[in-house]
């Protein structure tokens, strides 16, 4: 690891100011950034911690749904969202291991947008709104491909607001080594339709499986997906699974998520 300065502001405004410096980098839970720095693959000169900002922490039920501060660790979401949005709480409780869940945050995960991360599926599958220091971004506009988001220079996520569906479930199939999602599916049934978001499978990162959404909006049962097929075009192929294998998992896991949704 190279040397760096560390600041821990207590307000969003101070954080934004600190991030305007040359070579500054936001640090949330550090579950991706810290290992990257230890391998000397990143060398920010200033780390701006976002975990000392009270207004970016916590889980709160409001009129628009469930709001989660961006610096809220997964373990807190797993515990505090359980009553309001069990599928989301389960997703958070299945990320990494206890150490990861106590450090890693929802904002960090979304800003990084790892193609195999869990939260992008929860956010896109819920049709949530990503709130930043500048604006509100709909999930459908936020995710723009592997490790790519709508965030602009100097823009930080401050929170996420989730509308609460009637039924939802997240089913993840672990990559055996990392236990990231080899493929995982988030299904959410709202009054006005069903959303199906898939992570881990595509070279373009998290995506919505619109054919399944259409079929499930008509009839919310695993059998509704049975006749659909998933193309392996654009799917990730690596040591842990071919594109065809991942395409198979998309369908299998969608069926299981529908069956599990409550």
């Amino acid at each position: 690891m190279h040397n760096f300065d560390f600041v821990k502001p207590s307000s969003i405004a101070d954080a934004v100011k600190a991030l305007s410096k040359e070579g500054a980098q936001a640090l949330s839970g550090g579950q991706t950034l810290t290992p990257t720095m230890k391998q000397r693959l990143a060398a920010p000169t200033v780390l701006v911690s976002l975990t000392g900002i009270d207004e970016m922490k916590g889980v709160c039920l409001g009129e628009d749904g469930l709001s989660i501060g961006a610096a809220t660790p997964h373990a807190v979401v797993a515990k505090e969202a359980a009553k309001h949005y069990p599928a989301l709480a389960m997703l958070a409780g299945g990320i990494g291991d206890p150490a990861v869940r106590n450090r890693g945050t929802i904002g960090g995960s979304l800003a990084n947008n790892d193609p195999a991360a869990c939260y992008p599926a929860g956010v896109l599958g819920s049709g949530a709104t990503v709130v930043t220091n500048r604006r509100k971004i709909a999930a459908d506009d936020y995710f723009q491909g592997m490790f790519t988001t709508a965030l602009e220079e100097g823009e930080i996520i401050t929170g996420v607001t989730f509308p609460i569906p009637e039924k939802a479930a997240y089913v993840k199939f672990n990559q055996p080594a990392s236990r990231f999602a080899l493929t995982a599916v988030f299904v959410a049934k709202f009054k006005d339709g069903v959303r199906v978001a898939v992570t881990g499978a595509s070279n373009d990162g998290v995506f919505r499986w619109s054919e399944a959404e259409k079929a499930l909006s008509g009839h919310f049962a695993a059998s509704a997906v049975e006749g659909l097929s998933v193309s392996s075009d654009g799917m990730i192929g690596d040591l842990h699974g071919t594109p065809a294998y991942r395409a198979n998992l998309v369908k299998v896991l969608t069926k299981r998520a529908v069956a599990a949704a409550q």
């Binding site: 391998q39 000397r40 055996p176 080594a177 990392s178 040591l239 842990h240 699974g241 294998y245």
Partner: protein, 792 residues
């Protein structure tokens, strides 16, 4: 009733108190006055010619004290292979020099070609990066696939070795004609091509070394993560740096796991010693995890074609194998013994097979060196045999339990001479199989399979009956076979004046629990409390010359030496007692910690005898030396042959290909068991590693020789939720006939017997589910491979 102390008791592991409370004493924990840090510059290409290394910029960087390159070591020795193997035509193996730092060429990703020593770790790291940037290495085509390596003479890992072949070994060459004849007339032949997957050892503690040179005396000290400190001292002295043995101390303090990878001497150890000599300051290095992945000696990596000739009712008539065994870029110390004498000699398994012939071609590639890893050759043999027995049963429609029972060596056939050069001294393979069938509730399988089916899962059952040769090894025998060292061991039992005891052993504990078990044995033999016995290991300045711990040898060989030394203590104690009790030595009996005159109540306690030996006021000084300390060396008369039967049940999810281990049952014969709890722990760990190999662990190089699985993001280690609650039994005991404790060794058993049980279970599950086209799946049997096999 179970004992609560001494031999056979489940004494709690005394070393765990410090390990579990953060008070262990590992190499990287040791702070040295004036210490400096070494960082290695490692090749990022698999194969390349070193054109230039410009040290000028790096040497001027802050804190840099010294820079070393291959040039600095080109005139010193190389790290040798420990076994000389001859090819079938009688020619000796090709043995390229393995230098301290690569010189001329780099031969695998991670091959160190320079090192920087600086005041701080980060300064050394910065300068190493600079040095890497200032090095010109011309990339050459990488040789990764073994089949291509032997087929393309134009591309050479070592320029002087034209076909990348180390040797072409036949075992036993004289058997070959009879084996071929048996195949010609066989009613049935089963053929299987399989891969025994390469494994990264992944010890929890990475390798770490500290070199110290003491200018005042000219002494050197190497503190290092070794399973085998005397071997490292011998190699550094006699082969690599030429430091006299009596000027070099090697200390292996607490070591956090080795699984074989820390048996060997590595270049980093020589470098820190040489650098310390140059700087007059301690030089330390600890591997980063990536370095462990890239440079620890890997395990396994065989590609094998095995054929089995049999009758139609499953009687095995002959076995014939052809194996390509990867040794990687250089010969690590045991790399030539592992695929040969630890593999070919086991190719009859526990069966009455009249004819066996094994051919092994050992191949150089541009990958990390491959050497012995938990089981070492024996898992490869067991996997091949147990997979093909299962395939034969399937082809002939026979019951795998009955076919094994029919072929197992019968209890009255011991000692049993195999066609591949071993004499199994004792065993009862029927007994362990019977015990397994009972413990695993084989009778209830169909009910469990139906329950799995109701959940949409396919249940399968896989059997493995295994044997290994361990307690390594009879020196005269291994000498004939090509070993360049003796494989005896030694122990010194020092009775202190106050009656407590220090035992110095040549074994090395890096997780096994020696400090507990050896104390149990000595305490039992001397009739004293376990807490009065202290075990000293790992320091060549304190312990007698021993060969360390590997090959399930610690108890069978080092424990035997210790027992002999204790016997000498008792014999001398009798002489002292006879004098003190004014009796004839022949009338003294020793029992329950007391020397007494037979048939009388006259007695002296062990403590009184010890005190008298050191305060010899009433002592036969004219005929007996004072003191009570004895050393014994023990060279085993034969290998030991632990054996057992394992049953694995799996549930396969046919939609995703995921395999879950539903249950795993072991019935082992380890001979006499010294500490059941520790034995069970060893089996749990070994089976865990075997399940890791069977389902999870994949060491993948791409065609350019880049290690794709160089971190835990892609290299899947078994975790607690990947393994079941094991059922482990060791109640079937046929004591070893030739060592004093009647023990056989248990450290590697689990890793040897389990992989074929797992894979057999998966194939069974798929067949029961109607996927009868699946004949074999190579390890690791990952979800995607299973799904591919089902849908292929």
């Amino acid at each position: 009733m179970p004992k609560d102390t001494g031999i056979g008791a489940s004494s709690k592991r005394r070393e765990d108190v410090r390990f579990l409370s953060g008070r262990g004493n590992y190499t990287d924990d040791l702070a040295m006055h004036g210490q400096t840090y070494a960082v290695f510059v490692r090749s990022n290409v698999a194969h390349g010619r070193i054109k230039s290394i410009d040290t000028s910029a790096a040497s001027k960087m802050p804190g840099v004290l010294a820079i070393f390159t291959g040039e600095d070591f080109k005139d010193v020795g190389g790290n040798p292979a420990g076994w000389l193997i001859n090819s079938r035509d009688g020619t000796p193996m090709r043995e390229p020099k393995r230098p301290v730092l690569a010189h001329g060429k780099v031969r695998h990703v991670g091959d160190a070609y320079a090192a920087v020593v600086a005041e701080t770790y980060n300064q050394a790291k910065d300068a190493a990066q600079q040095l890497a940037d200032d090095s010109e290495i011309e990339e050459l085509p990488a040789i990764v696939d073994m089949r291509k390596a032997v087929a393309d003479p134009s591309n050479r890992v070592h320029d002087e070795i034209p076909d990348n072949l180390c040797f072409d070994w036949g075992w036993i060459e004289d058997n070959r004609a009879a084996v071929d004849a048996a195949f010609k007339s066989a009613p049935h032949i089963t053929t299987l091509e399989l891969v025994n997957n390469r494994l990264v050892p992944n010890a929890m503690e990475p390798r770490s070394s500290i070199g110290e040179y003491f200018p005042g005396t000219g002494d050197y000290k190497l503190t290092t993560t070794s399973q085998n400190p005397h071997l490292t001292r011998l190699l550094v002295s006699a082969f690599v740096l030429g430091i006299p043995e009596n000027k070099l101390t090697v200390v292996a303090p607490d070591v956090g796991g080795g699984f074989g990878s820390k048996i060997y001497h590595y270049g980093e150890e020589a470098l820190v010693l040489a650098a310390s000599r140059k700087l007059g300051r301690p030089v330390r290095w600890t591997a980063e995890r990536t370095e462990s992945f890239l440079t620890d000696a890997h395990g396994r990596d065989h590609v094998t074609k095995i054929e089995m000739a049999s009758t139609k009712d499953g009687e095995i008539l002959a076995i014939r194998t052809e194996t390509l065994a990867n040794v990687g870029a250089y010969l690590s110390n045991f790399s030539t013994a592992t695929p040969t004498f630890l593999h070919g000699t086991l190719m009859a398994g526990p069966y009455k097979v009249p004819h066996v012939y094994v051919n092994v071609k050992t191949v150089f590639t541009n990958t990390a060196p491959v050497d012995a890893y938990r089981g070492a050759g024996r898992p490869e043999a067991t996997f091949s045999i147990e997979r093909i027995v299962d395939k034969m049963c399937r082809e002939l429609g026979l019951d795998p339990f009955e076919v094994r029972r029919k072929n197992l060596i019968q209890p009255d056939q011991f000692p049993y001479t195999t066609p591949v050069g071993l004499v199994y001294d004792t065993g009862n393979y029927q007994a362990t199989l019977d015990k397994l069938i009972e413990l695993a509730d084989v009778a209830g399988f169909e009910g469990r399979a139906a329950a799995s089916k109701a959940k949409g899962k396919l249940r399968g059952m896989g059997l493995s009956t295994w044997i290994e040769a361990c307690g390594i090894a009879p020196s005269n025998l291994v000498g004939v076979l090509g070993s360049r060292v003796g494989l005896y061991d030694a122990a010194t039992v020092r009775v202190n004046a106050t009656g407590n005891i220090s035992v110095m052993t040549g074994a090395h504990s890096h997780g096994q629990g020696h400090e507990t078990v050896f104390a149990q044995i000595v305490a039992e033999k001397l009739g004293i409390a376990e807490s009065s016995v202290e075990i000293v290991h790992g320091d060549t300045s304190k312990i007698p010359f021993g060969m360390g711990s590997y090959g399930s040898r610690s108890l069978a060989v080092c424990g035997a030496a210790m027992t002999k030394a204790v016997d000498k203590i008792i014999a001398k104690g009798k002489k002292i007692a006879a004098h003190m009790l004014e009796a004839s030595e022949n009338d003294i009996v020793f029992a329950d910690g007391k020397f007494s005159v037979a048939g009388t109540d006259k007695a002296k306690s062990f403590g009184e005898i010890a005190f008298s030996a050191y305060v010899p006021h009433n002592y036969p000084l004219e005929t007996l030396e004072p003191g009570l300390e004895e050393t014994a060396f023990y060279d085993p008369a034969n290998f030991t042959y632990p054996a057992g039967a394992y049953l694995c049940e799996v549930e396969v999810d046919p939609e995703t290909g995921k395999v879950d281990i539903a249950s795993f049952t072991c019935a082992d014969d380890f001979g006499h068991v010294m500490n059941p709890m520790i034995v069970e722990g060893q089996v749990h760990g070994g089976v865990g590693q075997g399940i890791g190999q069977a389902l999870l662990e994949n060491t993948a190089y791409d065609e350019n020789g880049q290690l794709l699985t160089a971190s835990y993001m892609d290299y899947a280690m078994p975790r607690a939720d990947d393994v079941p609650f094991y059922t482990v039994d060791h109640s079937c005991v046929t004591p070893c006939t030739h060592n004093p404790l009647g023990v056989k060794g248990c450290g590697e058993a689990g890793a040897i017997g389990s992989p074929p049980a797992v894979v057999n279970a998966v194939i069974d599950a798929l067949h029961r589910g109607g996927h009868t086209h699946v004949k074999h799946i190579d390890m690791p049997v990952s979800p995607s491979r299973v799904w591919q096999a089902i849908n292929g």
